[in-house]
Each structure stands twice: as C-alpha cells, then as structure tokens.
C-alpha cells in the first residue's frame, strides 16, 4: 500500500512538475533567476551579503529579479532531484562539497570551464575547496566558502581550573579530566562531542594516519579497519569516554552542542567555528576558541574541511547564473563572508584567525560519486554508536563499516 502511495506521489509530483515547466518554459527573455542557498545564509548577519550581491547583479541586469530560495541540508537534494525530473531546475544551487561528485558524474551541472577566467579570484581559489567542484578535468562548481572545525571553550572554567590552551591530545585529555572533577553538575561535559559526530571521529582517524577509503586501480577499498585507522578510532573512544557526557548514539544536531553549552553544561565543544554564534548571552564574554590539538604535540588535529560550491544545473540560464555567481563571490562579498567567521574561497583574503589556522591541516571525504550514499546511509554513525556503546569492538565495527563503505562506493 505504501508502495502504491509512494509511486502515486512520485508520478503525480513528476506530472505536475512537467506541466509547470511546460507552462513556464518559453522563449521570452528571462526576467528572473532562481537561486537556492542553504538556510545558513538566512542568518541576520549573512542575508545582507546575499542582498548586496543581488543589488550588484541587478546593476548589470536591470529588471531581472533574483528569487533566492532557502533550502535545508536535510532534504535539498531530494528537492533538487524532483526539479531535475521535472525540468524546472534553479539557475544557481549551493551544494555541499561532499555532495558534488555524485551530481557532477550524473551530468546534472553545466560546464563552467570556459567561464572560469572571468570569475573573481579564480586563480587563487582554496585548493581543497576548488577540488570538490572539478570532475573529469572540467569545472562544475565555483568555490563559495569553507568552514573548519575548532574547539569553542569556556575561558572562565579553564582559568578556574588553571588550564592553559592544550597543545596535544594528551594535554587536552588531562584538562578534560580536571574540568570534570571541578564541575560536579549532573551531565556536565568537559568536552562535548555527540557520540556519532563522524566529522570529529574521522579527524582522529586521519590524525593517526588512517583513511576512510582509497582507490586501488579504479576500485574503492575501505581502509577503516587498517591498524592506523583503528588506532584513531580507539583514541576517539577513549577521548569520548574521558570527556563527553553526550548520548553515544545521537548526532550533532539532536541537540545542537551549543544549546547544551548555553545551558552551562559544557566546558568546551568541538565543531564549526560559527558555533560561537549561539553560546548564549550568559557565556558570550567567557567564550574563546582554539585549534584542536593532534596527538603529536604542537600540531593541529586534521579537521574536516566543510564547505560549499555554487553550481549551475542543466536547463538553467547559464549567462545570468554565472553573472550572479560573479557578484556573490566578488572580493567585497568574500570579505564580508570572512567577517562573519567563514573561510573565504580565496587564499588572497586568508588571515590568521583560529578558524583559518585550523584549516591548514584538514581532511576530506573520498571523492567517489557514491560517497553521499555512505553519508545518508549513516554507515559511519552506525559504526561509532556500535563502538561507543560497546556492542562491537573497535576492530569488528570498523571492519563491518569498511566493507559496507567499499560496497557502496563501488556499487
């Protein structure tokens, strides 16, 4: 019955989309473009940057309206699939850098290689981010911004406990234990990490020289069960047990770590640099950030380099779309984005903030077209909850996840 309902819904949806696209498709000059950005850009300090870009774009294209639609990370790809089926794609879409490969491989985007030279700062793009927008030697995604992961901490609690900013994982663990003995509130986490936060956990794996998967003569091979990766996962488990009182099975948005922080139950937390936005009025002035230390003293732990690209889907008005992207990734736009705590898309604007220092040692997911299926099949989260709850040993859980990842990536 469910099957029928789903089937019916798909077809009705597709039919409506087809009708809608034939109704709107015409040869008249485009009087508007549609831009899909993520809801992050809806924040009060971010939206003005979007508006400024729209105004700059409209200076060159008077009368062309820019229709910005904000999407959520959870379902924007499914919505995008529906527009691809119906032929009513947006003109510009923001894609997470881990989501790009699948869509580039499927031919969902227009080739921007010949436009590259005219896009601001294209000679100095952040290499880590730019790589996520290239496929088969062609450019499909323009780097938009990046974000690194840092430790956001309570300066007052660290001071009271006489803890200095740690420069190695061992120091941080000792500091966490000290914070734990000094703060007796129930549920207090010296270092809050959601149990299945794989962005944090994989940082440990890469820090110990491990990897998620590698490509061996065209075929993907899962490498999480390698001795180095297992050492990283074991270090993660030990650190979690010493420092975090978060649920071992939940993800990092249920609840958001900064919500627990704002309740006064967190000494420090690992996450994107923008976490400092939402630590609550009470702790705003007692909050600072440092770079997550590696197990090797003095070096930062590799952090996940999150980020977004801007792409032009097939069927979009390419000329207008590229012009809008130029306006939104201009120097002034990037300077403003940096001002609110993001890493700009160009090395020419990079400074020396904690965020930017953390970005210097980073890791990225395997660039396989099926990678996003590993993410939405939650293979890594499943593995982490198995490890932390002790349902499986580190080795067993890693082996099973590694096999699953290989079969998904090669599937």
């Amino acid at each position: 019955m469910r099957a029928r309902i789903i089937g019916a819904a798909v077809l009705v949806g597709a039919a409506l989309a087809v009708v809608a696209s034939t109704a709107s498709g015409g040869t008249q000059a485009a009087s508007s473009i549609t831009v899909w950005l993520q809801t992050d850009a809806q924040a009060t300090n971010w939206e003005p940057i979007v508006k400024a870009a729209n105004a700059a774009f409209q200076k060159d294209h008077p009368g062309v309206a820019v229709n910005v639609q904000y999407q959520t990370w959870g379902n924007h790809l499914q919505k995008f699939d529906a527009t691809l089926a119906g032929g009513s794609t947006p003109d510009v879409i923001e894609m997470g850098n881990t989501e790009m490969t699948k869509y580039m491989a499927a031919g969902a985007f227009q080739d921007l290689t010949s436009e590259k030279g005219s896009i601001p700062n294209s000679g100095t793009w952040l290499e880590g981010l730019a790589a996520s927008g290239r496929y088969g030697g062609k450019l499909y995604g323009v780097p938009y911004y990046a974000g690194s992961r840092v430790v956001t901490y309570r300066t007052d609690l660290f001071k009271k406990a006489g803890i200095k900013v740690p420069t190695s994982l061992a120091q941080f663990t000792a500091a966490a234990k000290k914070l734990g003995t000094q703060n007796k509130q129930k549920g207090f986490s010296p270092v809050y990490i959601a149990g299945t936060d794989w962005y944090v956990a994989m940082g440990f794996v890469y820090d110990f020289g491990g990897k998620i998967a590698t490509q061996v003569s065209g075929k993907w091979k899962g490498t999480l069960a390698s001795p180095r990766a297992v050492a990283g996962l074991t270090a993660y488990k030990n650190f979690f047990n010493a420092a975090s009182k978060a649920s071992k099975t939940t993800d990092e948005s249920h609840p958001n770590p900064y919500t627990v922080y704002a309740q006064g139950l967190v000494g420090s937390m690992l996450g994107p640099a923008w976490f400092s936005c939402c630590v609550g009025d009470e702790y705003k002035n007692a909050t600072a950030q440092f770079v997550m230390p590696s197990h090797t003293k003095g070096s930062p732990m590799p952090g996940f380099l999150g980020g977004s690209d801007l792409a032009v889907p097939i069927g979009a008005n390419k000329a207008l779309a590229v012009d809008w992207i130029k306006a939104y990734t201009s120097n002034s736009s990037m300077t403003s984005l940096r001002g609110i705590g993001n890493i700009p898309n160009t090395t020419s604007l990079l400074g020396n903030s904690v965020n930017e220092r953390a970005a210097k040692r980073s890791w990225f997911v395997p660039t396989a077209k099926n990678w996003v299926n590993v993410e939405n099949g939650n293979i890594l989260r499943n593995m982490l909850s198995q490890i932390l709850t002790g349902r499986l040993t580190v080795k067993q859980a890693a082996q099973s996840a590694s096999d699953n990842i290989a079969s998904v990536l090669n599937g």
Partner: protein
C-alpha cells in the same frame, strides 16, 4: 417451494432491442467515472512503478529522462542484498508485535468502555478521539522531547519516582530500544481506531445472549470467548488486515523518531529502507523494485491471514 418460473424464460427469450441495450448499459455508464478515476490515480502509477522496477533508473537517467531496460536485475540485486532480508525479518517481527498490541489493547479498552459510567466513558472517548486527531509528525516531536536524552521529562519522572537512576538514560541506545520506542508511539496512535470500531461492534452483541450465558454459569472469559468474540470476529479480521498493511509500510514514525539520532541499516524498517534506497540514493529503479516486493509481501501476508480466519470461521 413451488414457484411459477415461466415469466423468467420468457423474458430471457426476448430479443435484445436497442432500448434494452441502452437500459442494460446504464449501470456501466454510471460506474465508468469511478473506474476511470481509479485507473488514473492507482492503475497508471502502479503500471509506471512496475515498468520502473525493470529499468536502470538513477540520477543520470533521471536527468536524461530515459531509463535503460535491464529486466530483473533490480530484483536480483535487492534479493541478494543481506540488508533487504534483515530489514524484512525485522519488519515482520515489528509488524506482528505492533498489530498484536494494537488489537489486544484496543479490544480491552473497548470492553472497558462498556462497563464505564456515561461521564467517564465520554471522557475516555474524547481522549481517544484527541489521540486520533493528533498528526503523526507532531506526536513524534512531542514523544521525542519527552524521551530526550538530555532534558527529557520521562527520565526525570522515573528518577523522581525512585525507580532507579534514569538520568541521561538513552532510550535510543540500541536498535531494539529504538524500535520499542516507535512501537509505543504507533500502538498509542492506532488504539483509538480499533477501540472505537470494536466498541461499535460490541453494540451488535445481543444482551440476552450474554445474559443467558451468564445464567448458565459461564465465566466472563468464557462469555467473551464463546459469545462476544465470534460476533466480533469479522470486525477484528478487518482491523487486523488493515493494521498489518499500515504497520508493515509505516514510515513517518520510525523515520522521524529514530532519525533524530540516525536511521541506519541496523534499524531500518521496510518503509524507511525503500525511502533511503530509492530517494536518498537516487536509485529509483531499485526503489521501485523494493516497493513492488513490499506490495507482494503485504498481499501474501494479508491473504494468508484472511484465509486462516475464514477457515476458523468454518470450523466454529
């Protein structure tokens, strides 16, 4: 019984004139709009679903709007996937538990309603209707807050009642526990329908039959087994079949409630599995094949159950 049958053959022998044909086709004309509507909204999508299940239809095909015919390959790949079989077994056990709990508790509450005074009955019935009218999405959210790891009221109340230390108890700590939480939510939401329907059915049980049985010295249990139950059986049969169909394909509750920590291969139910495989992975052909298999399984389960019940009816 002696019946004069002569007019009937006479009528049959009457030649089919245009007027008769016209009169004879009236019922078909009247039913035609309904048939057309059903074919359009059920038959055509079903046909498309079946054809989709024989095609390689992923993201590239979606963009080109043209799938490649690959015969039974989707079915082969699904049926050789251990995740499918694990999910199937899990879903069947889950469905059996949910349907049994729903029907038993629903019937018990309906029997309770019979014995309550009018004001209490109205109170209870209103409560049931409120439960029924609560959208699933809202119910999931409220239930999730109540059972929350960090700030949930359930952990607080259990601890305050002295039932142990439930501080930061993780109700979603294992697949079994996750599915048990979903079961509570689904049974809670499904009981009103069963109760109200069974209660209506109980109104058909003749008072005098029950009284006669009681005078003969039958225990309440015996009265239920031999008098009430046989009369309720057709209703329970329909309720059970409907519940099987609903619970087997349930999506909203497990996807949202378990999804608040994370859905993965260790806690998939069929509804969630088909969504992840079909939509999240953009493998629409494969998703369609799983849908068809689900349809067949539900059909088989229902037929099996209906036949069993019918046979039982013949025996009694």
């Amino acid at each position: 019984m002696a019946v004069d049958a002569s007019p009937l053959p006479a009528a049959r022998r009457r030649p089919l004139g245009p007027a008769t044909v016209a009169r004879g086709s009236v019922p078909y004309l009247l039913v035609a709009p309904v048939v057309v509507a059903i074919v359009a909204i059920l038959g055509y999508p079903l046909y498309k679903l079946v054809t989709l299940s024989f095609q390689q239809y992923g993201l590239p095909e979606l963009i080109q709007r043209h799938g490649e015919w690959i015969g039974l390959e989707n079915y082969r790949s699904v049926l050789s996937d251990s995740v499918f079989w694990d999910t199937l077994v899990r879903t069947i056990v889950f469905t059996a538990a949910n349907v049994a709990l729903t029907i038993v508790l629903g019937t018990l509450i309906a029997l309770l309603l019979l014995r309550l005074s009018a004001p209490v009955r109205i109170l209870l019935t209103s409560g049931l209707v409120l439960v029924w009218s609560m959208p699933a999405v809202v119910a999931v959210q409220v239930w999730y807050w109540m059972t929350n790891f960090q700030n949930g009221i359930l952990n607080y109340v259990l601890t305050e009642l002295g039932l142990g230390d439930y501080f930061q108890h993780d109700w979603y700590g294992s697949p079994f526990s996750q599915l048990a939480m979903v079961t509570v939510l689904i049974v809670w939401g499904a009981i009103p329908f069963v109760t109200v329907t069974v209660y209506a059915g109980l109104a058909q049980v003749p008072r005098e039959l029950v009284e006669a049985a009681q005078i003969d010295g039958a225990s309440p249990l015996r009265v239920f087994r031999d008098v009430t139950f046989p009369i309720l059986k057709p209703i329970l049969l329909i309720l059970t079949s409907l519940s099987i169909i609903w619970d087997f394909g349930v999506f909203t509750q497990p996807y949202l409630l378990i999804g608040a920590s994370h859905v993965d291969a260790s806690n998939y139910l069929m509804g969630v599995y088909v969504y992840i495989e079909g939509y999240a992975h953009s493998e629409f052909g494969r998703g369609a094949a799983i849908s068809i298999l689900m349809l067949l399984i539900v059909a088989v389960l229902s037929v099996f159950y209906v036949r069993r019940m019918v046979r039982m009816e013949d025996v009694t």
